[in-house]
């Protein structure tokens, strides 16, 4: 029946004390934090900035392959950045239907 030496008792009690502090703290954080305090405003969560995205990030969008991503980067370098998402239409390979599909994932900042 729980044959513990004095040293073992001290060690286990110390561990239990730490665990209790941890559980209590975690419960407090979960119970008394509010969603409002955690919420923050950022309208462009799902959008990638055309002026800062690298090639790999652009390729993450379905419809943009390596070639088009390369052309976007070249266009950005030549024109010193995009001023509007609509400028993408000027890039070779981005048709009207493709533009309609990808524009909702892109933004210009």
């Amino acid at each position: 029946m729980l044959n513990l030496t004095q040293e073992e008792r001290k060690v286990i009690l110390f561990l239990v004390a730490i665990a209790l502090v941890g559980v209590g703290g975690n419960f407090l954080v979960k119970q008394f934090s509010t969603a409002r305090s955690l919420a923050f405003f950022n309208q462009d969560l799902a959008k990638i900035n055309l002026n800062s995205a690298d090639k790999k990030m652009l390729m993450g969008i379905s419809g943009i392959g390596e070639k088009i991503a390369g052309r976007i980067i070249t266009y950005r370098r030549e024109r010193a950045g995009f001023s509007d998402v609509d400028e993408l239409k000027a890039i070779k390979g981005i048709t009207a239907s493709k533009f309609a599909k990808i524009k909702e994932y892109l933004t210009v900042k």
């Binding site: 029946m1 979960k30 934090s33 923050f40 969560l45």
Partner: protein
């Protein structure tokens, strides 16, 4: 005197069960635990009183841990799902499991970081299951932006899934050039992919699916009829990764390191991280975690020249799993895994003494008799649980296990050999693959024979 960890485990589990069935408030229980802790500290020298107070403290600690898991933070993903809600959600986060692909559908667990719906953005936490229609390859740790519908799961998906996101529109998944994966898990999943690739390349789909389950614990490829037949004969436990597999991994690592002339201490130290990687690669399900913790306990025991205690190691592994997630105590997988091992530890020596198995002089006969008694003890331990959960009673289980377990052992061994040979000398893998095919066919035929015996299994 030896420290009995099993008793601690008993009180801890008692607290979890009590809190599961009886509603208790967190803070009164918490202050009671603090009082007991102080009392234990002051009365540490009074043996009898300390034992009672300490048992109470561990009992309440188990309950508090479970109670804590019931409370979800306000930013948890499940707090943003509303009844009859048709909003389109956009979630940013990363893949937290190995993606599984079948028929153009990919599913994985997704850790959320930000959520956007109804023109507002929220910081978000918690995991959800994602079902995605996409042709691209996704990998663990990859950061994504997903757009789709989120709903609460049906009971079918288990208690660990609090939300399901369906992403069905083309182009609704954006890959971000970031990876949040943990390096150890990345290695584990890479190895898993390599091994799965070898298994499916070298074997027919049926044999590969069975070997995949036995070597890597991946059951999703097994045809439903085969799985149902194994349930009927009570031999479905061979289709999961268990202590035996962990034992094989330890043996193979030790052998390899011995060939490489590593010292004994270095062999033990190297084996431990390898076991952790294997555990992660197989999905860290309760049976694997149990076996891994027990194996680490044993290896550490050897390392420090201490005699490992099987009961203490079993309790330690249970406490480890329950500490991480106390709800596991109510999962079938946890219960069956621990009850079967506990039954073998406690019941088998009693049965062996009762039937006087030691008295059998012919060694092969004694081996068979002992195998029968091991199988009988595991069956006696688990039959109540199987009856309760699956409503099935299989008298043929003990007999079937005596024939099927050695075959399964052979398949697991030859499976590991196939993987090892393919990695070292791919040209020599042919005979191993043929042997695997043969053993799998034998396994299925034997299982079929047993389930067609009269009164092999009864549905309640």
């Amino acid at each position: 005197m030896k420290f009995n960890l099993a008793e601690l485990g008993f009180y801890f589990c008692g607290g979890i069960v009590f809190t599961h069935f009886i509603r208790i408030a967190f803070w009164p229980a918490y202050f009671l635990a603090l009082t007991l802790l102080l009392a234990c500290a002051f009365l540490a020298r009074k043996d009898f009183i300390f034992k009672i107070l300490f048992a109470g403290l561990i009992f309440i600690l188990g309950g508090l841990l479970l109670k804590n898991t019931y409370i979800l933070p306000p930013s948890h993903i499940s707090r943003f799902i509303f009844y009859k809600n048709n909003s389109v959600y956009t979630a940013r986060g990363f893949i937290n499991s190995q993606p599984y692909s079948k028929d153009g559908r990919i599913s994985f667990m997704f850790t959320t970081q930000e959520l956007q719906f109804n023109d507002s953005n929220y910081k978000c936490s918690g995991d959800m299951l994602v079902q995605l229609k996409d042709t691209r390859v996704f990998s663990y740790g990859e950061a994504l932006i997903l757009r789709g519908s989120i709903h609460r799961p049906f009971k079918l998906y288990g208690k660990n899934v609090s939300a399901i996101m369906r992403v069905s529109m083309p182009g609704s998944a954006v890959k971000l050039a970031k990876n949040y994966g943990q390096p150890v898990r990345k290695i584990a999943f890479y190895l898993k992919n390599r091994i799965e690739g070898i298994i499916y390349r070298k074997l027919s789909p049926l044999a590969a699916s069975i070997l995949d389950a036995m070597v890597l614990g991946e059951k999703r490829g097994i045809p439903a009829q085969v799985y149902a037949a194994m349930v009927k004969s009570g031999t479905v436990h061979i289709l999961v990764v268990s202590g035996f597999n962990v034992g094989i991994v330890v043996f193979m690592i030790m052998l390899l390191l011995k060939v490489l002339r590593f010292t004994r201490v270095l062999r033990y130290i190297t084996a431990i991280p390898c076991l952790v990687i294997y555990c992660l690669a197989t999905g860290a399900s309760p049976p694997v975690v149990r076996a891994t913790v027990m194996a680490i306990f044993f290896l550490t025991g050897f390392l420090f020249r201490r005699e490992p205690d099987v009961r203490n190691s079993l309790t330690l592994s249970a406490l480890f799993i329950l500490w991480v997630n106390p709800r596991e105590l109510f999962s079938i997988s946890f219960q069956l895994s621990f009850v079967s091992v506990a039954a073998i530890i406690f019941l088998y020596p009693q049965l062996k003494a009762f039937f006087k198995a030691e008295a059998i002089k012919v060694r092969p006969l004694r081996f068979i008799a002992e195998g029968f008694l091991v199988s009988l003890s595991a069956w006696l331990g688990t039959c109540g649980f199987i009856l309760y959960y699956f409503k099935i009673f299989s008298p043929v289980t003990v007999l079937a296990n005596i024939c099927i377990v050695p075959l399964a052992t052979l398949i697991t061994l030859s499976g590991f050999s196939l993987v090892a040979i393919t990695l070292i000398f791919p040209a020599l893998a042919g005979p191993f693959a043929w042997a695997n095919e043969l053993f799998v066919v034998l396994l299925l035929k034997t299982n079929n024979f047993f389930i067609h015996l009269p009164y092999a299994c009864l549905y309640l």
